[in-house]
């Protein structure tokens, strides 16, 4: 299987994740779409690691996973704090700075 196919799939997944971030209202779902984009990047990293015949891409993908885990932990904690203060997880409701 040519690595181009994997890269193309990763592009498509990245695009879908981006649309989700733009369109969805629920902050948790927005987070999940960000995770989808990170996963798509990981797929491209692994594909290019295979093209270049070294393992650096796999190590970078591993680091991306670790950073994504840390990001999820802090992000979900922020979400819970926001929900506790405003009883809503919608990104539309957190608009105090607008006014």
């Amino acid at each position: 299987m040519s690595p181009v196919h994997y890269v193309a799939l990763s592009v498509i997944l990245f695009m879908i994740g981006g649309v989700g971030v733009l369109v969805r209202r629920n902050a948790i779902v927005v987070f999940m779409c960000v995770e989808l984009m990170l996963n798509a990047c990981n797929l491209a990293f692994v594909a290019f690691a295979r093209v270049h015949d070294n393992l650096d891409g796999q190590v970078i993908a591993f680091f991306v996973m670790v950073v994504a885990a840390a990001e999820v932990v802090v992000g979900l904690a922020i979400l819970m704090a926001i929900y506790r203060a405003r009883r809503s997880a919608s990104v539309d409701d957190a608009s105090l700075l607008k006014y």
Partner: protein, 276 residues
């Protein structure tokens, strides 16, 4: 899984191609479903499907270590964390489908198509070579190869990652911690509050009846009216509580509610309890 792992060393086999196309279609379909379904729980499940597909693809590309890390860390830990938070803050919160910014969906779609064209052009112009020939570092030597890289070339980023994880854990604890600004009410305080509000007995548990013993049936007050406060507030918006049927001795119970208009919880819970 072992078949796929073994197939990863033979890049030209038909089996790998078949698996790739099946997984690609499933992953894209699940990703599309993820941004289309309205409930957050369904989104999480769709994301799990995408992640499992990607894990299999890592294995097919000679990255068995990453495949298992993907399953264990992403599908196991991160998605479970998502599910925990969904359960904590809003199982009921289906996304609103109201467009708050006019034409935002259209603009998002256009931006996505633009991004797709941009990336497709970039990849089309790039000369992406064929996959490397199979070697031990994509099979049995994968783990040792990655470990060598992490603990030699990438040892400083690896240490920084540890610091990042500790900081994230501390930050989550600080953010999720709630300061108690009033002293915790004791049992005596709670009893005094109940008496002051006119309620003499404790809150009734949800109904256990001869016909229904589900937690979404409200308890019956002594005057026969359903007590809406006996049902968890989470269940109300999700299914709507049905008032239980009162079955007197000698009557035939009606298994189906005669009129479907009883989905709203009974409003007179507190006052009914106060009178009785």
């Amino acid at each position: 899984m072992t078949g796929v792992l073994a197939a990863g060393t033979n890049t030209d086999s038909v089996a790998v191609e078949t698996v790739f196309w099946i997984l690609a279609v499933v992953a894209v379909a699940a990703a599309l479903a993820m941004i289309l379904v309205r409930r957050a729980v369904h989104c999480a499940i769709m994301l799990a499907v995408v992640m499992l597909c990607l894990a299999t693809m890592y294995a097919m590309q000679g990255a068995p270590f990453l495949a298992f890390v993907q399953i264990i860390v992403y599908t196991g830990a991160v998605l479970m964390l998502f599910l925990f938070v969904i359960m904590l803050i809003g199982i009921t919160a289906a996304d609103s489908i109201v467009e708050t910014i006019k034409g935002q969906r259209l603009a998002a779609g256009l931006a996505a198509i633009g991004l797709l064209v941009l990336l497709a052009l970039g990849i089309g112009h790039a000369a992406i070579g064929p996959a490397a020939p199979p070697s031990p570092k994509y099979g049995s030597g994968n783990l040792t190869g990655i470990a060598t890289l992490i603990f030699t070339t990438y040892v400083f980023p690896f240490e920084v990652t540890g610091a990042l994880l500790i900081t994230a854990a501390l930050g989550a604890m600080v953010l999720a911690h709630r300061e108690r600004i009033a002293p915790r009410p004791t049992q005596r305080d709670l009893a005094a509050r109940r008496l002051a509000s006119g309620q003499v007995v404790g809150d009734p548990p949800p109904g256990i009846y001869a016909l229904h013993d589900s937690a979404d049936r409200p308890a019956l007050l002594p005057d026969g009216s359903p007590a809406a406060s006996s049902v968890s507030s989470v269940l109300n918006p999700r299914t709507g509580t049905e008032p239980p049927q009162v079955v007197r001795p000698g009557e035939k119970p009606q298994l189906e509610a005669a009129d479907g208009g009883e989905r709203e919880p009974a409003p007179s819970a507190g006052s009914g309890r106060a009178e009785s």
